[in-house]
């Protein structure tokens, strides 16, 4: 089994943190952003996990879920729900936020774009009152969401002052050795600037305000 990652790619942060947290035996290879690792995908997609069967996983969330399951921790329904929320709600907002912060130098706009998802997370954490998103121990959902927020929260930092539960959760996950080590490997202490060459290769984000073409199957 082998995990392919690239520097400055925030999705690789998820996979590396999950690999270190679970301790699953797996080789890690750093490649360039534009290396096509997954044979059937036209666009370079990282991280990618080559499975023992020869199949590839190309979704960072599926990779994290797999590593936790191999380690004996299956994803609960609550975990499923956070992973789906991360992919469908948080990621589009994050892509827009990172595009503005890293490429356009508009760090001040970041908190506006992320306000919605931040409120959702704060509300849920304060209501449940557990140390981690799905209970008393770390799940794939914690690492996936932490890694999503890490680049923006660790750098220009939209103030989390009023979001006490979110801040406590974020600091708790960020303090894990697995997360610190993954962050060092992927961003090398350069924060948002460490993501510049990755972001330059990404298509400009679609947002509801600036979408030029309608989705092809919006019925």
């Amino acid at each position: 089994m082998k995990l392919f990652v690239s520097e400055g790619n925030p999705h690789c942060l998820k996979a590396l943190a999950a690999l270190e947290a679970t301790g699953v035996q797996c080789g890690v290879q750093f490649v360039n952003h534009d290396e096509r690792v997954v044979p059937f995908l036209s666009r370079p997609t990282l991280p990618a996990l080559a499975l023992p069967s020869g199949q590839y996983l190309f979704s960072s969330n599926a990779i994290c879920r797999y590593l936790f399951e191999v380690n004996g921790q299956e994803c609960s329904e609550l975990c499923d729900q956070w992973l789906e929320w991360e992919a469908t709600v948080l990621q589009p907002a994050l892509q827009q936020a990172l595009h503005m912060a890293v490429l356009q130098g508009k760090s001040s706009e970041v908190s506006k774009v992320l306000q919605g998802p931040i409120d959702v997370l704060e509300q849920s954490l304060s209501k449940r009152n557990t140390p981690y998103l799905t209970g008393d121990s770390v799940s794939a959902a914690d690492l996936v969401l932490w890694a999503g927020f890490f680049p923006v929260l660790s750098d220009s930092s939209p103030t989390l002052g009023e979001h006490k539960s979110l801040k406590a959760w974020f600091d708790r996950v960020a303090a894990m050795n697995a997360c610190q080590s993954a962050a060092q490997k992927v961003l090398q202490g350069k924060g948002l600037q460490g993501m510049k060459s990755y972001m330059q290769r990404q298509p400009a984000p679609q947002s509801s305000q600036c979408r030029e073409t309608q989705p092809c199957n919006s019925n």
Binding site: F40, S42, R43, A62, D80, L83
Partner: protein
């Protein structure tokens, strides 16, 4: 759209009691009211819950590997496929065509929820596809035809005649 898909899945699973759904936000994300706990939110999350409740865990994959592959394609459906533009769709079809080259189903040899929801999601695309394109993406077309004929899956969607009889094409055209 999402609610009709979930209702078709319930019929496929043979569930008798009707679940109560609502939607949330502009994108009309499905929400399942759950008697035993807080509501579940999201098409993939709810679909997986229904399969487990119907005691059909094999629809989610029967090994850790295939479970991850199934989740990956379910995620692909609600992220890439649902938000893709007319231009992106060519890449989606091309990639899927290459992926399906040596596979019967998305998770290999086993029919799973990934097939069901990728089929529902790609149906409007296949309907709009010109005949030549359907032949260009022959592995996608073959898989699509296979799933739409799979007993109990199609429900709310009209059948699409995707394959023309190719036996005579070289002589008669």
């Amino acid at each position: 759209m999402a609610l009709r898909e979930l209702s078709s899945l319930e019929k496929y699973l043979g569930q008798k009691k009707a679940n109560k759904y609502s939607t949330q936000g502009d994108k009309k994300v499905p929400v399942l009211q759950n008697n035993n706990g807080p509501p579940l939110v999201g098409l993939v999350t709810i679909a997986c819950h229904l399969a487990k409740e119907a005691k059909r865990p094999e629809l989610l994959g029967d090994t850790a590997e295939s479970r991850a592959v199934v989740q990956q394609w379910l995620e692909y459906r609600v992220t890439k496929l649902d938000s893709c533009t007319k231009e992106d769709i060519k890449t989606v079809l091309k990639d899927l065509n290459l992926y399906l080259q040596d596979k019967v189903y998305l998770a290999g040899n086993q029919f799973t929820l990934a097939d069901v929801f990728m089929y529902y999601g790609i149906h409007p695309v296949i309907v709009d596809l010109a005949i030549q394109d359907r032949e260009q993406y022959v592995n996608v077309t073959r898989w699509f035809d296979h799933i739409q004929r799979y007993p109990g899956v199609r429900h709310h969607l009209p059948p699409v005649a995707v394959l023309r009889n190719r036996i005579y094409t070289s002589r008669h055209h």
